[in-house]
Protein backbone atom coordinates (compact mmCIF):
# COMPACT_ATOMS: atom_id res chain seq x y z
CA UNK A 1 0.00 0.00 0.00
CA UNK A 2 1.18 3.49 -0.70
CA UNK A 3 0.06 6.63 1.05
CA UNK A 4 0.64 8.86 -1.99
CA UNK A 5 1.30 8.13 -5.60
CA UNK A 6 1.77 11.11 -7.90
CA UNK A 7 2.60 11.11 -11.60
CA UNK A 8 3.18 14.18 -13.76
CA UNK A 9 1.56 16.41 -11.18
CA UNK A 10 1.23 20.07 -12.23
CA UNK A 11 -0.54 23.00 -10.69
CA UNK A 12 -0.77 26.43 -12.24
CA UNK A 13 -2.56 29.54 -11.02
CA UNK A 14 -3.96 32.53 -12.83
CA UNK A 15 -2.68 35.61 -11.08
CA UNK A 16 -4.01 38.82 -12.64
CA UNK A 17 -4.01 37.26 -16.04
CA UNK A 18 -0.53 35.77 -15.69
CA UNK A 19 -0.18 32.01 -15.47
CA UNK A 20 2.10 30.91 -12.66
CA UNK A 21 3.28 27.31 -12.71
CA UNK A 22 3.76 26.32 -9.10
CA UNK A 23 4.34 22.64 -9.87
CA UNK A 24 5.65 21.56 -13.24
CA UNK A 25 5.42 17.79 -13.28
CA UNK A 26 6.08 15.97 -10.04
CA UNK A 27 6.42 12.19 -9.79
CA UNK A 28 6.43 11.01 -6.22
CA UNK A 29 5.57 7.91 -4.23
CA UNK A 30 5.36 7.90 -0.45
CA UNK A 31 4.76 4.55 1.14
CA UNK A 32 2.87 3.59 4.26
CA UNK A 33 4.68 4.38 7.49
CA UNK A 34 7.31 6.53 5.82
CA UNK A 35 8.79 9.60 7.49
CA UNK A 36 9.55 12.07 4.73
CA UNK A 37 10.42 15.76 4.67
CA UNK A 38 9.68 18.06 1.78
CA UNK A 39 12.30 20.78 1.64
CA UNK A 40 12.72 23.84 -0.44
CA UNK A 41 13.06 27.59 -0.37
CA UNK A 42 9.93 29.70 -0.28
CA UNK A 43 8.25 29.84 -3.66
CA UNK A 44 9.66 26.44 -4.62
CA UNK A 45 6.22 24.86 -4.76
CA UNK A 46 6.49 22.78 -1.59
CA UNK A 47 3.36 24.31 -0.05
CA UNK A 48 1.43 23.70 -3.26
CA UNK A 49 2.59 20.09 -3.24
CA UNK A 50 1.53 19.77 0.36
CA UNK A 51 -1.96 21.17 -0.44
CA UNK A 52 -2.33 18.71 -3.29
CA UNK A 53 -1.22 15.77 -1.14
CA UNK A 54 -3.64 16.94 1.56
CA UNK A 55 -6.49 17.03 -0.97
CA UNK A 56 -7.12 20.66 -0.10
CA UNK A 57 -6.53 21.51 -3.75
CA UNK A 58 -6.73 19.71 -7.08
CA UNK A 59 -3.90 19.31 -9.59
CA UNK A 60 -4.13 21.09 -12.93
CA UNK A 61 -2.95 17.92 -14.61
CA UNK A 62 -1.38 14.62 -13.67
CA UNK A 63 -2.61 11.80 -11.51
CA UNK A 64 -2.66 11.75 -7.74
CA UNK A 65 -3.67 8.68 -5.78
CA UNK A 66 -4.22 8.92 -2.05
CA UNK A 67 -4.40 5.54 -0.35
CA UNK A 68 -4.82 4.06 -3.81
CA UNK A 69 -7.79 6.31 -4.72
CA UNK A 70 -7.50 8.60 -7.75
CA UNK A 71 -8.62 11.98 -6.36
CA UNK A 72 -9.74 13.22 -9.77
CA UNK A 73 -12.65 10.76 -9.54
CA UNK A 74 -13.91 12.31 -6.31
CA UNK A 75 -16.27 15.26 -6.00
CA UNK A 76 -15.76 17.89 -3.30
CA UNK A 77 -17.87 15.99 -0.80
CA UNK A 78 -15.99 12.75 -1.31
CA UNK A 79 -12.71 14.65 -1.16
CA UNK A 80 -13.72 16.12 2.21
CA UNK A 81 -14.56 12.63 3.44
CA UNK A 82 -11.21 11.36 2.17
CA UNK A 83 -9.40 14.12 4.11
CA UNK A 84 -11.39 13.25 7.17
CA UNK A 85 -10.59 9.54 6.97
CA UNK A 86 -7.04 9.41 5.64
CA UNK A 87 -5.18 12.58 6.48
CA UNK A 88 -4.26 14.43 9.63
CA UNK A 89 -3.05 18.02 9.37
CA UNK A 90 -0.59 19.91 11.55
CA UNK A 91 -0.14 23.58 10.68
CA UNK A 92 2.60 26.07 11.45
CA UNK A 93 0.18 28.36 13.30
CA UNK A 94 -1.66 25.49 15.03
CA UNK A 95 -5.13 26.55 13.77
CA UNK A 96 -6.97 25.65 16.92
CA UNK A 97 -10.46 27.03 17.54
CA UNK A 98 -10.16 29.77 20.13
CA UNK A 99 -12.71 29.68 22.97
CA UNK A 100 -12.90 25.92 22.53
CA UNK A 101 -11.37 23.44 24.95
CA UNK A 102 -8.45 21.21 23.95
CA UNK A 103 -10.76 18.21 24.16
CA UNK A 104 -13.36 19.71 21.80
CA UNK A 105 -10.66 20.91 19.40
CA UNK A 106 -9.25 17.41 19.19
CA UNK A 107 -12.72 15.87 18.77
CA UNK A 108 -13.62 18.15 15.84
CA UNK A 109 -12.64 15.79 12.98
CA UNK A 110 -14.85 13.10 14.54
CA UNK A 111 -17.81 15.51 14.49
CA UNK A 112 -17.63 15.49 10.70
CA UNK A 113 -17.35 11.73 10.73
CA UNK A 114 -20.63 11.51 12.61
CA UNK A 115 -19.16 9.89 15.73
CA UNK A 116 -21.40 10.11 18.80
CA UNK A 117 -20.42 12.60 21.46
CA UNK A 118 -19.41 10.20 24.24
CA UNK A 119 -17.24 8.19 21.84
CA UNK A 120 -15.69 11.38 20.48
CA UNK A 121 -14.72 12.56 23.91
CA UNK A 122 -13.27 9.20 24.81
CA UNK A 123 -11.11 9.10 21.71
CA UNK A 124 -10.10 12.74 22.03
CA UNK A 125 -9.04 12.14 25.62
CA UNK A 126 -6.94 9.16 24.55
CA UNK A 127 -5.29 11.23 21.80
CA UNK A 128 -4.47 14.03 24.24
CA UNK A 129 -3.03 11.48 26.68
CA UNK A 130 -0.87 10.11 23.84
CA UNK A 131 0.70 13.57 23.33
CA UNK A 132 1.17 14.03 27.08
CA UNK A 133 -1.62 16.57 27.65
CA UNK A 134 -3.94 14.55 29.90
CA UNK A 135 -3.83 17.45 32.34
CA UNK A 136 -4.93 20.08 29.79
CA UNK A 137 -8.25 18.64 28.56
CA UNK A 138 -10.39 21.62 29.48
CA UNK A 139 -7.85 24.32 28.72
CA UNK A 140 -8.40 26.72 25.91
CA UNK A 141 -5.63 27.47 23.39
CA UNK A 142 -5.03 30.88 24.99
CA UNK A 143 -4.31 29.12 28.29
CA UNK A 144 -1.56 26.95 26.81
CA UNK A 145 2.00 27.48 25.58
CA UNK A 146 2.83 27.28 21.89
CA UNK A 147 4.37 23.85 22.33
CA UNK A 148 1.25 22.61 24.09
CA UNK A 149 -0.97 24.07 21.40
CA UNK A 150 0.98 22.28 18.70
CA UNK A 151 0.69 19.03 20.65
CA UNK A 152 -3.09 19.58 20.79
CA UNK A 153 -3.00 20.03 17.02
CA UNK A 154 -1.04 16.76 16.68
CA UNK A 155 -3.59 15.00 18.86
CA UNK A 156 -6.31 16.39 16.57
CA UNK A 157 -4.41 15.07 13.53
CA UNK A 158 -4.21 11.62 15.11
CA UNK A 159 -7.65 11.25 16.62
CA UNK A 160 -9.19 9.90 13.43
CA UNK A 161 -6.50 7.21 12.92
CA UNK A 162 -5.24 8.68 9.63
CA UNK A 163 -2.95 6.88 7.28
CA UNK A 164 -0.70 9.92 7.02
CA UNK A 165 -0.04 13.13 8.93
CA UNK A 166 0.87 16.18 6.86
CA UNK A 167 2.80 18.67 8.94
CA UNK A 168 3.35 22.11 7.41
CA UNK A 169 6.31 23.78 9.19
CA UNK A 170 5.19 22.25 12.49
CA UNK A 171 8.09 23.80 14.41
CA UNK A 172 8.05 27.13 12.60
CA UNK A 173 6.36 29.04 15.39
CA UNK A 174 8.10 27.27 18.26
CA UNK A 175 11.31 27.85 20.16
CA UNK A 176 14.07 25.24 19.92
CA UNK A 177 13.07 23.29 23.00
CA UNK A 178 9.39 23.07 22.05
CA UNK A 179 10.31 22.37 18.44
CA UNK A 180 12.48 19.55 19.64
CA UNK A 181 9.64 18.14 21.68
CA UNK A 182 7.19 18.27 18.75
CA UNK A 183 9.67 16.56 16.44
CA UNK A 184 10.26 13.88 19.05
CA UNK A 185 6.54 13.34 19.30
CA UNK A 186 6.15 12.98 15.52
CA UNK A 187 9.05 10.50 15.42
CA UNK A 188 7.53 8.48 18.20
CA UNK A 189 4.10 8.38 16.51
CA UNK A 190 5.74 7.25 13.29
CA UNK A 191 7.69 4.54 15.06
CA UNK A 192 5.00 3.33 17.46
CA UNK A 193 1.83 3.70 15.44
CA UNK A 194 3.14 3.36 11.92
CA UNK A 195 1.55 6.60 10.75
CA UNK A 196 3.28 8.01 7.68
CA UNK A 197 4.56 11.51 8.34
CA UNK A 198 5.18 14.05 5.62
CA UNK A 199 6.56 17.28 6.90
CA UNK A 200 7.15 20.42 4.94
CA UNK A 201 10.01 22.61 6.13
CA UNK A 202 12.72 24.91 5.01
CA UNK A 203 14.93 24.12 8.05
CA UNK A 204 17.57 21.49 7.15
CA UNK A 205 18.04 20.40 10.76
CA UNK A 206 14.32 19.59 11.02
CA UNK A 207 14.36 17.83 7.65
CA UNK A 208 17.39 15.79 8.65
CA UNK A 209 15.38 14.03 11.31
CA UNK A 210 13.21 12.47 8.59
CA UNK A 211 14.39 9.28 6.96
CA UNK A 212 13.84 10.72 3.51
CA UNK A 213 14.38 14.25 2.18
CA UNK A 214 12.56 15.40 -0.92
CA UNK A 215 14.06 18.64 -2.24
CA UNK A 216 11.71 20.80 -4.29
CA UNK A 217 12.88 23.70 -6.42
CA UNK A 218 11.08 25.68 -9.12
CA UNK A 219 8.12 23.35 -9.14
CA UNK A 220 10.10 20.18 -9.64
CA UNK A 221 11.67 17.55 -7.43
CA UNK A 222 15.35 18.35 -7.47
CA UNK A 223 16.64 15.59 -5.25
CA UNK A 224 15.03 12.71 -3.38
CA UNK A 225 17.38 11.36 -0.72
CA UNK A 226 16.43 8.35 1.31
Amino acid sequence: MTAFEAAGLTRSYQLEGVTVDALRGVDLTIGDGEFAAILGPSGSGKSTLMHLLGCLDRPTSGVLKVGGVDVSTLDDTKLAELRNQMIGFVFQSFHLLARTSALDNVALPLVYRGVAKADRRKRARAALEAVGLAHRLDHRPSQMSGGEQQRVAIARALVGDPQVVLADEPTGNLDTRNGEEVMGLLERLNADQGVAIVLVTHEPEVANRARRQIHVRDGLIERDVA
Binding site: G54, T77, A80, R83, Q85, H95, V111, Y112, G114
Partner: protein
Protein backbone atom coordinates in the same frame (compact mmCIF):
# COMPACT_ATOMS: atom_id res chain seq x y z
CA UNK B 1 -22.34 15.77 10.71
CA UNK B 2 -25.43 15.30 12.79
CA UNK B 3 -28.08 17.99 12.88
CA UNK B 4 -28.00 18.24 16.66
CA UNK B 5 -24.26 18.86 16.37
CA UNK B 6 -24.84 21.66 13.87
CA UNK B 7 -27.33 23.31 16.25
CA UNK B 8 -24.91 23.00 19.13
CA UNK B 9 -22.14 24.61 17.07
CA UNK B 10 -24.40 27.42 15.91
CA UNK B 11 -25.62 28.14 19.44
CA UNK B 12 -22.03 28.16 20.63
CA UNK B 13 -21.07 30.66 17.93
CA UNK B 14 -24.00 32.93 18.88
CA UNK B 15 -23.10 32.63 22.56
CA UNK B 16 -19.49 33.59 21.91
CA UNK B 17 -20.63 36.80 20.18
CA UNK B 18 -23.38 37.63 22.65
CA UNK B 19 -23.63 41.37 22.10
CA UNK B 20 -23.50 41.11 18.35
CA UNK B 21 -26.12 38.34 18.33
CA UNK B 22 -28.40 40.39 20.58
CA UNK B 23 -28.10 43.50 18.42
CA UNK B 24 -28.73 41.49 15.26
CA UNK B 25 -31.78 39.92 16.84
CA UNK B 26 -33.05 43.34 17.88
CA UNK B 27 -34.12 44.13 14.32
CA UNK B 28 -36.11 40.91 14.13
CA UNK B 29 -37.49 41.40 17.65
CA UNK B 30 -38.79 44.86 16.77
CA UNK B 31 -40.23 43.65 13.48
CA UNK B 32 -42.02 40.66 14.95
CA UNK B 33 -43.40 42.48 17.98
CA UNK B 34 -44.59 45.29 15.69
CA UNK B 35 -46.45 42.75 13.54
CA UNK B 36 -48.08 41.14 16.58
CA UNK B 37 -49.05 44.43 18.23
CA UNK B 38 -50.32 46.19 15.11
CA UNK B 39 -52.35 43.18 14.01
CA UNK B 40 -53.73 42.93 17.55
CA UNK B 41 -54.82 46.57 17.44
CA UNK B 42 -56.34 46.21 13.98
CA UNK B 43 -58.18 43.06 14.98
CA UNK B 44 -59.23 44.61 18.28
CA UNK B 45 -60.73 47.62 16.50
CA UNK B 46 -62.55 45.36 14.08
CA UNK B 47 -63.91 43.15 16.87
CA UNK B 48 -65.04 46.16 18.89
CA UNK B 49 -66.95 47.67 15.98
CA UNK B 50 -68.48 44.35 15.00
CA UNK B 51 -69.57 43.87 18.60
CA UNK B 52 -71.22 47.27 18.51
CA UNK B 53 -73.07 46.46 15.34
CA UNK B 54 -74.27 43.07 16.46
CA UNK B 55 -75.10 44.58 19.87
CA UNK B 56 -77.89 46.49 18.15
CA UNK B 57 -79.95 43.33 17.81
CA UNK B 58 -80.15 40.68 15.16
CA UNK B 59 -81.43 40.78 11.60
CA UNK B 60 -82.07 44.52 11.57
CA UNK B 61 -82.91 46.39 8.37
CA UNK B 62 -82.79 50.18 8.50
CA UNK B 63 -84.91 51.88 5.81
CA UNK B 64 -83.85 55.45 5.18
CA UNK B 65 -84.78 58.00 2.54
CA UNK B 66 -82.15 58.78 -0.07
CA UNK B 67 -78.90 56.91 -0.34
CA UNK B 68 -76.69 56.06 2.55
CA UNK B 69 -73.68 58.25 2.09
CA UNK B 70 -71.36 59.12 4.92
CA UNK B 71 -69.98 62.10 3.00
CA UNK B 72 -73.23 64.00 2.54
CA UNK B 73 -75.85 65.31 4.94
CA UNK B 74 -78.83 62.93 5.25
CA UNK B 75 -81.59 63.38 2.72
CA UNK B 76 -84.59 65.29 3.99
CA UNK B 77 -87.11 62.63 4.87
CA UNK B 78 -90.46 62.58 3.16
CA UNK B 79 -91.70 59.54 5.05
CA UNK B 80 -94.58 59.97 7.49
CA UNK B 81 -96.60 57.65 9.74
CA UNK B 82 -98.84 56.72 6.80
CA UNK B 83 -95.77 55.40 5.04
CA UNK B 84 -94.81 53.49 8.15
CA UNK B 85 -98.21 51.76 8.13
CA UNK B 86 -97.71 51.05 4.43
CA UNK B 87 -94.36 49.43 5.20
CA UNK B 88 -96.03 47.42 7.99
CA UNK B 89 -98.47 46.00 5.44
CA UNK B 90 -95.61 45.22 3.04
CA UNK B 91 -93.67 43.43 5.76
CA UNK B 92 -96.79 41.56 6.82
CA UNK B 93 -96.04 41.54 10.53
CA UNK B 94 -96.67 45.05 11.95
CA UNK B 95 -94.92 44.24 15.24
CA UNK B 96 -91.60 43.82 13.39
CA UNK B 97 -91.53 47.44 12.24
CA UNK B 98 -90.56 50.39 14.37
CA UNK B 99 -89.95 54.04 13.65
CA UNK B 100 -87.86 56.96 14.80
CA UNK B 101 -88.10 60.75 14.92
CA UNK B 102 -85.02 62.26 16.51
CA UNK B 103 -84.00 65.56 17.97
CA UNK B 104 -81.49 66.81 20.50
CA UNK B 105 -83.40 68.33 23.44
CA UNK B 106 -82.91 69.48 27.00
CA UNK B 107 -84.38 67.36 29.72
CA UNK B 108 -84.72 68.66 33.25
CA UNK B 109 -85.59 67.19 36.62
CA UNK B 110 -85.58 69.72 39.46
CA UNK B 111 -82.19 71.38 39.17
CA UNK B 112 -80.61 68.54 37.16
CA UNK B 113 -80.47 69.10 33.48
CA UNK B 114 -79.15 67.03 30.56
CA UNK B 115 -78.97 67.37 26.80
CA UNK B 116 -80.17 64.13 25.29
CA UNK B 117 -81.32 62.58 22.03
CA UNK B 118 -85.09 62.44 22.17
CA UNK B 119 -86.32 59.57 20.03
CA UNK B 120 -89.95 59.38 19.07
CA UNK B 121 -90.73 55.73 18.57
CA UNK B 122 -93.32 53.06 19.30
CA UNK B 123 -94.10 49.86 21.18
CA UNK B 124 -92.17 47.65 18.75
CA UNK B 125 -88.69 48.70 19.91
CA UNK B 126 -88.03 45.44 21.84
CA UNK B 127 -89.16 43.36 18.83
CA UNK B 128 -86.52 44.94 16.59
CA UNK B 129 -83.63 46.10 18.75
CA UNK B 130 -81.72 44.51 21.61
CA UNK B 131 -82.90 46.93 24.26
CA UNK B 132 -83.57 45.25 27.63
CA UNK B 133 -85.39 47.16 30.38
CA UNK B 134 -83.92 47.71 33.81
CA UNK B 135 -87.08 49.07 35.37
CA UNK B 136 -90.71 49.83 34.49
CA UNK B 137 -92.11 49.16 31.04
CA UNK B 138 -91.68 49.86 27.33
CA UNK B 139 -93.88 52.30 25.43
CA UNK B 140 -97.29 50.78 24.62
CA UNK B 141 -99.68 51.02 21.71
CA UNK B 142 -102.03 53.08 23.87
CA UNK B 143 -99.17 55.51 24.60
CA UNK B 144 -98.78 56.05 20.85
CA UNK B 145 -102.47 56.18 20.02
CA UNK B 146 -103.30 58.68 22.79
CA UNK B 147 -100.10 60.74 22.48
CA UNK B 148 -99.22 60.21 26.09
CA UNK B 149 -96.42 62.26 27.57
CA UNK B 150 -94.47 59.32 28.88
CA UNK B 151 -90.78 58.57 28.53
CA UNK B 152 -88.37 55.62 28.77
CA UNK B 153 -84.89 56.79 29.76
CA UNK B 154 -81.50 55.51 28.70
CA UNK B 155 -79.39 54.33 31.63
CA UNK B 156 -77.03 57.29 31.52
CA UNK B 157 -79.88 59.83 31.32
CA UNK B 158 -81.50 58.20 34.33
CA UNK B 159 -78.26 58.25 36.27
CA UNK B 160 -77.63 61.89 35.43
CA UNK B 161 -81.11 63.14 36.30
CA UNK B 162 -82.13 60.90 39.14
CA UNK B 163 -78.91 59.49 40.52
CA UNK B 164 -79.62 56.30 42.39
CA UNK B 165 -83.34 57.07 42.77
CA UNK B 166 -85.87 54.93 40.90
CA UNK B 167 -87.20 57.35 38.26
CA UNK B 168 -90.26 55.30 37.35
CA UNK B 169 -93.39 57.35 38.13
CA UNK B 170 -91.43 60.62 38.47
CA UNK B 171 -91.70 63.72 36.34
CA UNK B 172 -89.18 65.08 33.83
CA UNK B 173 -89.44 68.17 31.63
CA UNK B 174 -88.49 67.72 27.97
CA UNK B 175 -88.31 70.89 25.88
CA UNK B 176 -90.53 72.60 28.42
CA UNK B 177 -93.20 69.89 28.46
CA UNK B 178 -93.73 67.64 31.47
CA UNK B 179 -93.38 63.89 30.93
CA UNK B 180 -93.81 60.93 33.25
CA UNK B 181 -91.03 58.36 33.33
CA UNK B 182 -92.42 54.86 32.79
CA UNK B 183 -89.22 52.87 32.27
CA UNK B 184 -85.44 52.79 32.26
CA UNK B 185 -83.32 50.85 29.78
CA UNK B 186 -80.34 48.71 30.70
CA UNK B 187 -76.91 50.03 29.76
CA UNK B 188 -76.18 49.00 26.15
CA UNK B 189 -73.14 51.08 25.16
CA UNK B 190 -72.47 53.05 22.02
CA UNK B 191 -72.78 52.19 18.34
CA UNK B 192 -70.87 54.26 15.77
CA UNK B 193 -70.40 56.96 18.37
CA UNK B 194 -74.16 57.09 18.97
CA UNK B 195 -74.49 56.97 22.74
CA UNK B 196 -77.63 54.88 23.01
CA UNK B 197 -77.56 55.19 26.79
CA UNK B 198 -78.10 58.94 26.34
CA UNK B 199 -81.41 58.45 24.48
CA UNK B 200 -84.85 59.20 25.83
CA UNK B 201 -87.72 57.38 24.12
CA UNK B 202 -91.17 58.98 23.88
CA UNK B 203 -94.20 58.01 21.77
CA UNK B 204 -93.65 58.96 18.12
CA UNK B 205 -96.95 60.80 17.98
CA UNK B 206 -96.02 62.86 21.04
CA UNK B 207 -92.62 63.57 19.52
CA UNK B 208 -94.09 64.82 16.24
CA UNK B 209 -96.31 67.26 18.13
CA UNK B 210 -93.47 68.31 20.48
CA UNK B 211 -91.09 68.95 17.60
CA UNK B 212 -93.72 70.24 15.21
CA UNK B 213 -92.98 67.73 12.43
CA UNK B 214 -95.03 65.32 10.30
CA UNK B 215 -92.11 63.27 9.12
CA UNK B 216 -90.24 60.31 10.55
CA UNK B 217 -86.47 59.97 10.15
CA UNK B 218 -86.28 56.29 9.53
CA UNK B 219 -87.92 52.93 9.79
CA UNK B 220 -86.32 49.86 11.32
CA UNK B 221 -87.45 46.34 10.57
CA UNK B 222 -86.55 43.19 12.46
CA UNK B 223 -86.47 40.37 9.92
CA UNK B 224 -87.62 36.94 11.05
CA UNK B 225 -84.30 35.32 10.12
CA UNK B 226 -80.92 36.04 8.56
CA UNK B 227 -81.87 34.45 5.24
CA UNK B 228 -84.76 36.82 4.53
CA UNK B 229 -82.93 40.08 5.40
CA UNK B 230 -81.80 40.96 1.89
CA UNK B 231 -85.06 40.01 0.15
CA UNK B 232 -87.18 41.78 2.74
CA UNK B 233 -85.09 44.94 2.53
CA UNK B 234 -85.37 44.92 -1.24
CA UNK B 235 -89.11 44.30 -1.05
CA UNK B 236 -89.61 47.32 1.23
CA UNK B 237 -87.42 49.59 -0.91
CA UNK B 238 -89.28 48.48 -4.05
CA UNK B 239 -92.65 49.14 -2.40
CA UNK B 240 -91.59 52.61 -1.27
CA UNK B 241 -90.15 53.42 -4.69
CA UNK B 242 -93.43 52.30 -6.25
CA UNK B 243 -95.25 54.68 -3.94
CA UNK B 244 -92.84 57.59 -4.55
CA UNK B 245 -91.34 57.05 -8.02
CA UNK B 246 -89.23 60.23 -7.80
CA UNK B 247 -87.56 59.34 -4.54
CA UNK B 248 -84.75 57.05 -3.61
CA UNK B 249 -84.79 54.77 -0.59
CA UNK B 250 -82.15 52.56 0.87
CA UNK B 251 -82.25 49.50 3.07
CA UNK B 252 -79.15 49.10 5.18
CA UNK B 253 -78.54 45.78 6.86
CA UNK B 254 -76.09 44.83 9.57
CA UNK B 255 -74.49 42.39 7.19
CA UNK B 256 -73.77 45.26 4.80
CA UNK B 257 -72.38 47.41 7.57
CA UNK B 258 -70.31 44.53 8.89
CA UNK B 259 -69.16 43.72 5.39
CA UNK B 260 -68.13 47.28 4.53
CA UNK B 261 -66.53 48.00 7.86
CA UNK B 262 -64.97 44.56 8.00
CA UNK B 263 -63.37 45.15 4.61
CA UNK B 264 -62.07 48.57 5.58
CA UNK B 265 -60.67 47.39 8.89
CA UNK B 266 -59.31 44.22 7.33
CA UNK B 267 -57.42 46.41 4.87
CA UNK B 268 -56.24 48.62 7.69
CA UNK B 269 -54.95 45.59 9.58
CA UNK B 270 -53.27 44.38 6.42
CA UNK B 271 -51.57 47.72 5.87
CA UNK B 272 -50.40 47.81 9.49
CA UNK B 273 -49.08 44.27 9.19
CA UNK B 274 -47.31 45.15 5.93
CA UNK B 275 -45.61 48.16 7.51
CA UNK B 276 -44.51 46.00 10.41
CA UNK B 277 -43.46 43.35 7.90
CA UNK B 278 -41.13 45.86 6.25
CA UNK B 279 -39.35 46.38 9.54
CA UNK B 280 -39.05 42.60 9.79
CA UNK B 281 -37.47 42.61 6.34
CA UNK B 282 -35.02 45.30 7.43
CA UNK B 283 -34.18 43.10 10.41
CA UNK B 284 -33.53 40.28 7.95
CA UNK B 285 -31.13 42.45 5.97
CA UNK B 286 -29.31 43.10 9.24
CA UNK B 287 -29.02 39.36 9.82
CA UNK B 288 -27.63 38.89 6.32
CA UNK B 289 -25.12 41.66 6.84
CA UNK B 290 -23.88 40.30 10.15
CA UNK B 291 -23.65 36.79 8.77
CA UNK B 292 -21.48 38.02 5.91
CA UNK B 293 -19.21 39.78 8.39
CA UNK B 294 -19.13 36.63 10.46
CA UNK B 295 -18.18 34.47 7.48
CA UNK B 296 -15.38 36.85 6.56
CA UNK B 297 -14.18 37.00 10.14
CA UNK B 298 -14.17 33.24 10.48
CA UNK B 299 -12.59 32.44 7.12
CA UNK B 300 -9.67 30.68 8.80
CA UNK B 301 -12.02 28.66 10.97
CA UNK B 302 -13.94 27.61 7.88
CA UNK B 303 -10.72 26.60 6.13
CA UNK B 304 -9.67 24.55 9.12
CA UNK B 305 -13.05 22.83 9.38
CA UNK B 306 -12.85 21.94 5.70
CA UNK B 307 -9.32 20.60 6.09
CA UNK B 308 -10.55 18.41 8.93
CA UNK B 309 -13.26 16.96 6.74
CA UNK B 310 -16.22 19.35 6.83
CA UNK B 311 -18.17 19.04 3.62
CA UNK B 312 -19.63 22.05 1.83
CA UNK B 313 -23.05 21.20 3.22
CA UNK B 314 -21.69 20.95 6.77
CA UNK B 315 -20.31 24.48 6.64
CA UNK B 316 -23.36 25.81 4.80
CA UNK B 317 -25.62 24.14 7.36
CA UNK B 318 -23.68 25.56 10.26
CA UNK B 319 -24.01 29.15 9.05
CA UNK B 320 -27.57 28.76 7.85
CA UNK B 321 -28.61 27.35 11.21
CA UNK B 322 -26.88 30.28 12.86
CA UNK B 323 -28.89 32.73 10.77
CA UNK B 324 -32.15 30.87 11.36
CA UNK B 325 -31.47 30.63 15.08
CA UNK B 326 -30.84 34.39 15.15
CA UNK B 327 -34.17 35.12 13.53
CA UNK B 328 -36.25 32.48 15.30
CA UNK B 329 -34.87 33.29 18.74
CA UNK B 330 -35.41 36.95 17.88
CA UNK B 331 -38.87 36.03 16.59
CA UNK B 332 -39.77 34.20 19.80
CA UNK B 333 -38.64 37.13 21.93
CA UNK B 334 -40.52 39.45 19.57
CA UNK B 335 -43.70 37.39 19.96
CA UNK B 336 -43.37 37.49 23.75
CA UNK B 337 -42.87 41.27 23.65
CA UNK B 338 -45.67 41.69 21.13
CA UNK B 339 -48.13 39.68 23.22
CA UNK B 340 -47.03 41.51 26.38
CA UNK B 341 -47.28 44.87 24.60
CA UNK B 342 -50.75 44.06 23.26
CA UNK B 343 -51.99 43.03 26.70
CA UNK B 344 -50.51 46.22 28.15
CA UNK B 345 -52.19 48.38 25.51
CA UNK B 346 -55.49 46.58 26.11
CA UNK B 347 -55.18 47.07 29.85
CA UNK B 348 -53.83 50.62 30.03
CA UNK B 349 -55.30 52.43 27.03
CA UNK B 350 -58.73 52.75 25.41
CA UNK B 351 -57.33 51.12 22.26
CA UNK B 352 -58.73 47.61 21.98
CA UNK B 353 -56.16 44.93 21.17
CA UNK B 354 -56.99 41.36 20.36
CA UNK B 355 -54.09 38.93 19.93
CA UNK B 356 -54.62 36.52 17.08
CA UNK B 357 -52.95 33.16 16.72
CA UNK B 358 -52.45 33.65 13.00
CA UNK B 359 -50.40 36.78 13.50
CA UNK B 360 -48.15 34.96 15.98
CA UNK B 361 -47.71 31.96 13.72
CA UNK B 362 -47.20 34.22 10.72
CA UNK B 363 -44.63 36.36 12.51
CA UNK B 364 -42.72 33.27 13.65
CA UNK B 365 -42.94 31.65 10.24
CA UNK B 366 -41.84 34.83 8.49
CA UNK B 367 -38.88 35.27 10.83
CA UNK B 368 -37.78 31.69 10.16
CA UNK B 369 -38.16 32.23 6.42
CA UNK B 370 -36.29 35.54 6.72
CA UNK B 371 -33.48 33.64 8.45
CA UNK B 372 -33.27 31.09 5.66
CA UNK B 373 -33.65 33.69 2.91
CA UNK B 374 -31.09 36.12 4.28
CA UNK B 375 -28.84 33.40 5.65
CA UNK B 376 -28.47 31.45 2.44
CA UNK B 377 -26.16 33.87 0.65
CA UNK B 378 -23.60 34.16 3.49
CA UNK B 379 -23.85 30.44 4.23
CA UNK B 380 -23.24 29.51 0.61
CA UNK B 381 -20.28 31.82 0.54
CA UNK B 382 -18.92 30.05 3.61
CA UNK B 383 -19.62 26.61 2.18
CA UNK B 384 -17.84 27.38 -1.09
CA UNK B 385 -14.70 28.85 0.42
CA UNK B 386 -11.59 27.23 -0.98
CA UNK B 387 -9.85 25.56 1.98
CA UNK B 388 -6.38 26.58 0.78
CA UNK B 389 -7.35 30.24 0.46
CA UNK B 390 -9.32 30.12 3.69
CA UNK B 391 -6.43 28.59 5.68
CA UNK B 392 -4.05 31.26 4.41
CA UNK B 393 -6.37 34.12 5.36
CA UNK B 394 -5.15 36.37 8.12
Amino acid sequence: MRTAEAFRMALEALRVNRLRSALTMLGVIIGVSAVVILVAIGTGAKDAIEDEISGLGSNIILVVPGQLNFQAAPTQSRLDLGDVNYVRRVVGDPSRVTVSVQSGENIRVGRNEAFVTVVGTDENIPNVFERPLKRGRYLTETDIDTRRRVAVLGSEVSQQLFGDLDPVGRQATIAGVRFRVVGVYEKVGATFGVARDRETHIPVTTAQRLLGVERVNGIAIGASGPDVIDSLGQKVVDALTARYPDEKFSAVTQTQLLGTIGTVLGMLTGVLAAIAGISLLVGGVGVSNIMLVSVRERTKEIGLRKALGARQRDVLGQFLIEAVLLTTIGGTIGIALGVGGSLLIEALSPVPASITLWSILLAFGVSAVVGVFFGVAPARRAGRLDPVVALRAE
